[in-house]
Amino acid sequence: MPVQGYMYPDEVELAWSILVVLYPFITGLVAGAFILASLERVFRVEAVKPTYRLALLTALAFLIVAPLPLQLHLGHPERSFEMYLTPHRSSAMAMFGFVYLWYLMAVLVLEIWLDFRRDIVLLSQRTKGLKRFIYRVLTLGSTNISENALRIDERIGYIITVIGIPSAFLLHGYVGFIFGSVKANPWWSSPLMPVVFIFSAMVSGIAVVLLIYMFSSWYRKQKIDMRCVDAIARYLFYTFLIDFSLEMLDLVHRIYEADESFRSLDFMVHTRLYLSQVVIQIYIGTLAPIALLALTQLLKLGQKTRKRIYAVAGSLTLVGIFAMRWNVVIGGQLFSKSFLGYTTYKMGFAAKEGMLSAILLTLLPFAILWVLVKLLPPWPGSEPVVTGGPAPALGDD
């Protein structure tokens, strides 16, 4: 039964599809991965160092893909540049382009370039053919890797990371604001929304880096640094507790206040959103990973068990956060603004905004990450070594 009760006639068809679900999911991974990376750089958490560069490249791979679901969703993607040329200043969405560009160019790309510059310069001298050309382009003509130059790189990198943390909060908090500021929709309209989005972003970003690090170590037949994964899992656990508390606060507030939309939303949670919200998001995607992570904190478990628990908890976390995005975006459109009826989301498979597009867009960042990792190996100990004495000043800039 597609429509139950009464919907305004133009509400029956959902305006935002699964592609709009992907957008906050992907930007969340970006922001979370970056915040994890910044732990090492700014807060000097040495334990997570093995994932520092990997987290940065992960953030970049996902950030490159972040605008694609939106582009595919737009009725006129060829006009999207108008957001840069004639942004409507009162629109929360109009700032997306600027926030995105700021984060991509001023924070992430710059930080990665500074961090990898020494490797890039050395690789541009050691490789041949096309690879050499690519590395030479990536040096941007800056080939000085003297100690002094690297110290300056480190200093600027630190400043950029310090700027990057509020930027990451801005990137995803802002995505939350896009939803939280829609007063017409009680499911979205909440000042807590940007905060919940930021914490859920951190949760998902930490989980994805943890999983990628464990998978890549296994794939490369390298030993997993348990001190590192234990630290990451601890951060995941604490962040998840804050995130879950915030979401519960929002829920309790809604139940206790029970405003005019409550009956409608309550009905939805018990029927159309029961599977995705209660079962997948709360039980499978939040309580289960929190319980698993709590076990690792409370009990003295062997390495093998801990690794398995982290892998399961990380995967469940991603499922839970994706379900959360789904419940926000799709759930917010399943009920009528008249609070008198409910509709259904029909997702096509091979359609422009169908499941296949969503799957491909979810896999694309991993393909980009694979290329990035091949180009700029982020593994500890994989940095090219300068042979024959101390690092020479190879350029004069």
């Binding site: 009464y6 919907m7 305004y8 006639p9 133009d10 509400e11 068809e13 305006a15 935002w16 939106l70 969703h73 737009l74 009725g75 006129h76 993607p77 006009r79 999207s80 108008e82 957001m83 004639t86 942004p87 409507h88 009162s90 629109s91 929360a92 969405m93 109009a94 997306f96 896009i178 829609v182 007063k183 017409a184 929709n185 917010g332 459109q333 009528s336 603004k337 008249s338 609070f339 008198l340």
Partner: protein, 243 residues
């Protein structure tokens, strides 16, 4: 005025562009229409609506509204005196072809025509990322379909569910208050087609408009006043159960 050869060459492309406009013709005459002298809204008298659907059909014909989408529609409310907060509402095909026999006995039944509220502080214009939807100086919320990027944020932001994405143009669409008609001194298609005068176009800046006498002597309301949108679709005899 002396025009040098250099100036002449500079002016030439501008003149060519201007000539294009001359050839395209001036917009159809809207004699004596001054934007700032009007502030449009509409009055809906619920007690007069008979649910015939003429307005919905007239709107669809006048504006080429695609099937299955509505710039205006009519709802039928059935409110039981035992369950006031939970009315039963239907609007088969937007009420385009009228309504089937009554849903249930007892309680009260009435029709509520709906359309864009042409809000003075409209959330839809606020959220448009490129400013494709805007409020005209005479108070009508419209969409520039040559500019709209089709993001659908405005559809989400409208508290009244009055917008949709046109599947052909892939741009947001809504009631324009028949802007092409009212600026020429005509009324809207829906008002013109209404056999009982349940819909009345209102110019709130015109002191001679009968709306002023009506507003002085009747209790009128807007939908969802708590949304503070400055809605200009005024309802007479609006029941508290209407959402």
């Amino acid at each position: 005025m002396n025009i040098s050869r250099r100036h002449f060459l500079i002016l030439l492309p501008a003149a060519a562009a201007a000539w294009d406009c001359v050839l395209a013709g001036t917009p159809e005459a809207a004699p004596n229409y001054t934007l700032t002298k009007h502030w449009w809204g509409m009055l809906v008298d619920i007690s007069k609506c008979i649910g015939c659907g003429n307005c919905v059909r007239a709107c669809a014909t006048e504006n080429g509204v695609p099937d299955g989408y509505f710039r205006t529609w009519v709802e039928r409310y059935h409110v039981s005196d035992y369950d006031l907060p939970n009315p039963t509402v239907d609007s088969p095909d937007g009420g385009k072809n009228g309504f089937p026999p009554i849903l249930g006995a007892g309680g009260k039944n009435f029709f509520v025509p709906k359309m864009c509220n042409h809000c003075a502080d409209s959330p839809c214009t606020q959220v448009c990322p490129v400013g494709a939807t805007f409020i005209t100086p005479d108070g009508v919320v419209v969409v520039d379909k040559k500019y709209c990027i089709g993001c659908r944020y405005c559809i989400q932001a409208c508290p009244y569910g009055c917008r949709f994405l046109n599947p052909k143009t892939q741009t947001a669409e809504k009631c324009t208050l028949c802007y092409h008609r009212i600026t020429k001194g005509l009324t809207t298609a829906c008002c013109e087609a209404c056999p009982t005068g349940a819909r009345q176009l209102a110019d709130l800046k015109n002191p001679n408009d009968p709306i002023h006498a009506f507003l002085r002597t009747h209790s009128v309301q807007v939908l969802k006043p708590y949304m503070a949108t400055g809605a200009k679709l005024f309802y007479n005899d609006l029941d508290g159960s209407v959402r």
